[in-house]
Amino acid sequence: MSLPVLKAADFASDQDVRWCPGCGDYSILAQMKKVLPELGVPREKIVFISGIGCSSRFPYYMNTYGMHSIHGRAPGFATGLKSTRPDLMVWVITGDGDALSIGGNHFIHMLRRNIDVNVVLFNNRIYGLTKGQYSPTSKEGQITKSTPMGSIDHPIMPLSLALAAEATFVARSIDAHVKHLGETLARAAAHKGTSLVEVYQNCNVFNDGAMAYAQEKKQRAQNVIELQHGKPLIFDEGKKGIRLVGNHLEIVNTADVPADDLLIHDEKAPNPSIHMMLARMSYPEMPEPIGVLRAVEGVATYDDQINAQVETAKSTKGEGDLDKLFSAGDTWTVK
């Protein structure tokens, strides 16, 4: 018997997709549907869990199992599910408000526990579903509905936060860069442990063009570096590179410096210090990295360990026996 070969269309649910026309979410949905058939995981073994926000409607549009939960708490649901059902492939779909504001706490703890789930963080630097307030990733000074004189919050850098939480897989991609996005999602799916993919996503209604510097093909070359393991950090069609000087990164012209001086990307480096420096590179001072910043294998996952403890307890104490449990300790008999 041959297994049916699934296509992207097989992963589409029968529900109408109701994002605004032109929303970057469509591209992420399309890439997800394209990547999943290539993974060889049956649809019934896949679960999408989301919080609240535009991005979090995602599970309704996938013909898999899914749960649209409450604001910011998707990591909690995913933890309970994956701890009891390690056989499932679990995706967490979240946004910058969902994951980093109301869910900041859960986001950190999911990462430090290294639960084997794949997190896709749609970052459009704005609150879309509540119609246009600033988010934790909005730039300082941004004028929004709730900040008419400009935002005075210092923004969170999601990848820095993830690294600080001991994340084992940290990556970034861009909705408009579909090939790169698909490849990055596939890498995330293959990682054992929590994988985080931040996706720059355009909200064409409330924050249009906020990340045009990275999305538009013409600007992308100057403003974005595509990371590749074992390769030097080069951008702007090879004209520029990044080098480590002392304890900071600087931009150099590749024509002026020997190739050996450029920083070689090592996504597997156990020490995340350089990854942290990459995560902190931000436009317009620096080009922003996309691709896999960090991918460290071999760190125990929470779900493996919680289940291993159960197995260990069974093998050392024997399978639980209610009679023995109830009668343990001092008992007496009334006749």
């Binding site: 309704y60 199992y65 649209h68 909690g76 933890t79 159960v310 399978e319 109830f326 001092d330």
Partner: protein, 624 residues
């Protein structure tokens, strides 16, 4: 060690029951002493009931009134339902313990004081001007026995080279020995306990044994006691018994429910007094397939529980009032997802942080209504420590029958209290049958919100081919489960979810009545106040009044016959450790006026106060 109990040569007086309270500084080992006395009494065949009472601070300043930790136990040769109101004996380790507890000692009762704890420094700490033991009224009112426990303990353990601090820590075992002598308790169970607990530190074990025996010997030799007391075994229902605390019983009930339903259990929680011990117990049951998850907060705890329920596990979370408040939004989600799970609230004094170590029943309305929107959930309440076991199983049965979260309202009094528990035969436990829809080829669309005769939807678990579906907090279309904003559908789904819970009333046993089904006064109680209400009603009945008692274990919905019962009495009284929450529900649901007896002092009802109020009300009813 040779486990042997000496026998007294003094007179032994037989009594039907004893209530004793042990009080000292938190850190004096009063809880340990109390627990040991309870176990020993239970093993002697007595019925026992306990009431531990301790401060919220881990170590409140030593010697102060705020730092007093107490443990009360009643042991009796007949069936009892409370730890007792008035004390026959009070053991105090310092002046603060004496002044905060003395009012509960009956006239002529025995006051045993650790004389060494009564000095100027301690008087200052306890804020008393002079030695309270020296007041002439004390000698006239009580039988006072002053014992230099610290000195005697130091002498008893002097050969063990422990140092003063460790030696002094043995004094609770000295006190224990003395109490054991006074009430004819066997030393053996405690000798076994010492061996098990301190076996790896032979010096400490030997010193504690020496202190225990010295305390016993002191009772036997001192002229302060002319006689000791003996409480015969109680006539309990035949069976094998053990002593059990409420939180322990709930944990065992959960693991039993998991077994009889063939489900591994997932327990997601965040520590909070007085619920934490459920977690501590469950972590011991990993070999039963129990997975415990200590989440980063209460919200993550319940969300993980819902995730596990979606995956097909028996899923449970527990907290106390403030944590349940945090769980509110997720409880609403669990309700609209229509997934089975258990949510336990071990109530404590509120609001907010309130009185964390004291008992109260003030989360009833939170359990009923503490969620946004129309969100009814079944609510059950155990009536005693042992009943926590049965309630846990019943909650899981209802959760899977209805496919919805079920709330258990326990409280601090039950959770920390203990009583003899007749160990059930596993074969006698009710079976819980769970079915998951089988996989399909996907030709016909799966209908995740199609309902059975209980209005429950199918529990289709991820991993099953052909049943892929999406759940979520947005309103679902009937049958298909698709997101729907249709007004009529929302009305229909709201009504259906409510009807599903309401229908439980027909599937639970009818409310039983203690006493006649009509009369002058009906007492309606719930939760941990069962014992004092039952005992008080019994007394007022024996005094010749037409009073009956119903104790609700099912609070939402209530058994179908409750309304009729309420209308069959001239008056209805509802004693609660809150400002009248059940009373409000009964009045609104059944349009029956109810009289409240309400108390929010962090303390349980005493039988005496209830007897007085019941008598007053029933006499008024008789004269109407």
């Amino acid at each position: 060690m040779t486990a042997s109990s000496p026998t007294t040569i003094k007179n032994v007086q037989s009594v039907s029951g004893i209530t004793v309270r042990l009080a000292g500084d938190s850190g004096d080992g009063m809880q340990l002493l109390g627990t040991q006395l309870t176990n020993t009494s239970a093993l002697a065949g007595n019925d026992v009931a306990t009431f531990p009472d301790f401060p919220a601070e881990i170590r409140a300043p030593r010697g102060t009134r705020a730092g007093v930790s107490g443990f009360q136990v009643q042991f009796a040769s007949e069936e009892i339902f409370t730890p007792g109101d008035v004390l026959d004996a009070l053991v105090v380790m310092n002046p603060a313990a004496m002044v905060t507890n003395l009012s509960d000692l009956r006239k002529g009762g025995i006051l045993i004081a650790n004389e060494d704890g009564f000095n100027d420094k301690e008087f200052k700490l306890a804020k008393v001007e002079s030695n309270p033991l020296d007041a002439s009224v004390i000698e006239e009112t009580y039988r006072v026995v002053k014992v230099p426990m610290t000195t005697l303990t130091r002498d008893a353990v002097s050969s063990f080279d422990l140092g003063v601090k460790l030696a002094d820590r043995c004094k609770n075992f000295f006190a224990m020995g003395l109490v054991y002598w006074l009430f004819g308790r066997s030393l053996e169970p405690t000798l076994r306990f010492i061996e098990a607990k301190f076996g790896k530190k032979p010096d400490v074990a030997a010193a504690n044994v020496a202190a225990l025996r010295a305390g016993w010997a002191f009772g036997e030799t001192t002229e302060a006691f002319g006689e000791s007391y003996q409480v015969e075994a109680a006539e309990l229902v035949p069976g094998t018994y053990r002593n059990i605390m409420g939180n322990q019983a709930i944990a065992m009930g959960l693991v039993a429910a998991s077994r009889i339903s063939g489900k591994d259990m997932f327990y997601g929680t965040y520590p909070i007094t007085p619920a934490s011990d459920i977690l501590h117990e469950l972590t011991k049951f990993k070999n039963f397939g129990v997975r415990t998850f200590q989440a980063e907060d209460e919200i993550a705890a319940i969300c993980s529980t819902i995730g596990a329920a979606f995956g097909g596990s028996m899923a449970v979370t527990a907290s106390s009032g403030p944590g349940i408040a945090l769980k509110g939004e997720a409880m609403g989600l669990g309700m609209i997802l229509e997934l089975p799970m258990i949510i336990i609230d071990v109530q404590r004094g509120g609001p907010s942080t309130g009185l964390p170590t004291k008992t109260e029943q003030s989360d009833l309305l939170q359990a009923m209504f503490g969620r946004n929107g129309e969100s009814p959930l079944p609510v059950l309440a155990p009536r005693s420590p042992g009943d926590c076991f049965d309630i846990a199983i019943e909650a899981w049965r209802l959760a899977v029958e209805c496919m919805c979260p079920v709330i258990i309202l326990s409280d601090g009094y039950i959770a920390n209290g203990s009583e003899p528990w007749r160990i059930p035969k596993i074969a006698d436990l009710p079976k819980i049958k769970i079915t998951h829809p089988e996989g399909s080829d996907g030709e016909t669309a799966f209908k995740p919100y199609q309902r059975d005769e209980n209005l429950a939807r199918p529990w289709a678990v991820p991993g099953t081919p052909g049943l892929m579906h999406r759940v979520g907090g947005l309103e679902k279309e009937d049958v298909t489960g698709n997101v729907s904003y249709d007004p009529d559908n929302h009305q229909h789904m709201t009504d259906t979810r409510a009807a599903k819970v309401k229908m439980i009333a027909d599937r639970v046993p009818p409310q039983d009545v203690f006493g006649a089904e009509t009369g002058d006064l009906l007492v309606v109680s719930w939760g941990g106040t069962y014992g004092s209400n039952h005992t008080a009603v019994d007394r007022v009945r024996k005094a010749g009044h037409k009073i009956s008692h119903i104790h609700l274990r099912y609070l939402n919905p209530m058994p179908a016959n409750v309304g009729k019962l309420l209308k069959s009495f001239k008056k209805v009284v509802v004693p609660e450790l809150n400002s009248g929450q059940l009373r409000m529900l009964l009045r609104s649901e059944h349009l029956v006026d109810c009289i409240g007896i309400n108390k929010v002092q962090g303390k349980p009802f005493s039988v005496t106060e209830l007897v007085e109020r019941f008598t007053e009300i029933v006499v008024a009813a008789e004269n109407e």
